[in-house]
């Protein structure tokens, strides 16, 4: 979750524009981690030290890591540790942003420091994605204590993000929640959850975006809003809500049931106004998921 929320953080701190974020996310796959960004993230080097090394490197034929050790900025052990570390998604995103020239090393250094401070994240938290600190990030999106059942709502949204990562892709940024829709050109499918946690859920997007979502989710080559595109939205909402009912049953002994997902249709504003609407920005556009509160 840290990658997704790091994008969200940069966006809402106005450190980059939505267009820049999208471009960096698209670039991320081809991005190679540079030692400088790793060292800044670990707190081993400052941005100005990294820039000094880059300057020196342009004059001599030596590797960045060796120069850093020679200058006494880092130890051999720290160098080995940095080189062996798994590249973390949010750092790759940071690297792509720096490569594109959207931020400088020192802007990145300041951003990463305030991101960690804001959510009290340690390096261990970030290396371990299953960490309970994901909760802190999810809770920063919306104040779930205002809902009738904070733990179920929070569990629902946490699972939703994990399911987007698992079934659609990890290259999204959760945008700030909305409580009404501004467009009348959304196509939606919906599903009702019944029982102790009785809520209405919708997944919706504009036609073009829904087709892209369907391509990814189904693994089929879908080019128009056909029956496969429709089935993808229904299948995803049913799968997500189904997994949610399984968790509620196993972890909280709450037995819920589902209605069959509704056919794809134009979304009328009154269907979702006042609901918690979560927009997920993917490179191909925004997919929204709404849950009544």
């Amino acid at each position: 979750m840290f990658t997704q929320f790091f994008g969200n953080f940069l966006l809402y701190q106005k450190l980059i524009t939505p267009e820049q974020l999208l471009e960096a996310i698209r670039q991320k796959q081809e991005t190679r981690m540079q030692l400088g960004v790793l060292a800044i993230n670990a707190g081993y080097m400052t941005a100005s030290q990294v820039e000094r090394i880059h300057e020196l490197q342009s004059k001599m034929d030596k590797r960045i890591g060796d120069i850093a050790v020679e200058l006494g900025y880092i130890t051999e052990e720290q160098l080995a540790e940095l080189l062996n570390a798994q590249p973390l998604g949010y750092l790759l995103l940071g690297q792509a942003i720096i490569d594109k020239g959207f931020m400088t090393n020192s802007q990145f250094e300041a951003a990463i420091r305030s991101y960690k401070e804001k959510y009290s994240l340690s390096d261990e938290d970030i290396s371990n994605n299953e960490n309970s600190k994901s909760d802190t990030l999810i809770a920063s999106l919306y104040d779930f204590s205002k809902t009738s059942n904070p733990s179920l709502y929070k569990g629902f949204v946490t699972l939703l993000m994990n399911n987007f990562v698992r079934f659609v892709g990890d290259d999204f940024t959760p945008l700030e929640p909305e409580f009404e829709i501004q467009s009348d050109s959304y196509k939606a499918t919906s599903q009702k959850i019944n029982g102790e946690f009785s809520v209405m859920t919708h997944i919706f997007a504009k036609e073009k975006e829904l087709i892209q979502f369907a391509c990814r989710y189904s693994g089929e080559n879908i080019t128009e809003l056909d029956e496969y595109a429709e089935a993808s939205g229904q299948d995803f909402i049913n799968l997500h809500n189904g997994l949610f009912t399984v968790n509620a049953s196993n972890n909280q002994q709450i037995e819920l049931t589902l209605t069959p997902p509704a056919p794809l249709a134009d979304l009328a504003s009154e269907e979702v106004n006042g609901h918690l609407i979560l927009p997920f920005q993917f490179p191909f556009g925004i997919i929204r998921f709404a849950i009544s509160i």
């Binding site: 079934f167 189904s218 029956e227 496969y228 429709e230 089935a231 993808s232 229904q234 299948d235 049913n238 799968l239 809500n241 189904g242 997994l243 009912t245 399984v246 509620a248 049953s249 196993n250 002994q253 037995e255 819920l256 049931t257 589902l258 209605t259 069959p260 997902p261």
Partner: protein
């Protein structure tokens, strides 16, 4: 029983879920796969095709999977019905087993589980 003699019925209201499961079953060498999109159609298809194995979703329009399962067992006490659903909650599991389902697969469907079920059915039929 040889897998190419096996008849399988896939019941799911999701076109995508049916396609995925059908593709998976065909990839194991099965040639006769029938489809139903809701509980009522599942019963009709069962009557028409007398499949050896049935994969049944639970949340479906018209008649849900548990009701369809009960009706199929009324027609054929020896029907082999496997529930394949996203809602593997304690109470749905209990209802399914009580109604006579022989197994339950939680969605997203793991193809190896499907293979295991088909293979064990085919080898069991060989012994009989």
């Amino acid at each position: 029983m040889n897998i190419n003699e096996l008849k399988v019925l896939v019941c799911d209201d999701s076109l995508l879920a049916r396609k995925r499961l059908k593709d998976c079953i065909i990839s194991f060498g099965c040639t006769q796969v029938f489809e139903a999109t809701d509980g009522e159609e599942a019963i009709a298809q069962y009557n028409n095709n007398k499949p050896n194995l049935v994969f049944m979703d639970i949340v479906m329009p018209k008649k849900d999977g548990i009701e369809a399962l009960k009706s199929i067992l009324e027609i054929d006490r020896d029907a082999t019905v496997i529930m394949a659903s996203s809602v593997g909650t304690q109470s749905y599991l209990k209802d399914a087993i009580k109604a006579g389902a022989i197994d339950f697969i939680q969605k997203p469907i793991d193809n190896d589980r499907v293979k295991e079920i088909i293979n064990s059915y085919c080898s069991r039929e060989e012994e009989d």
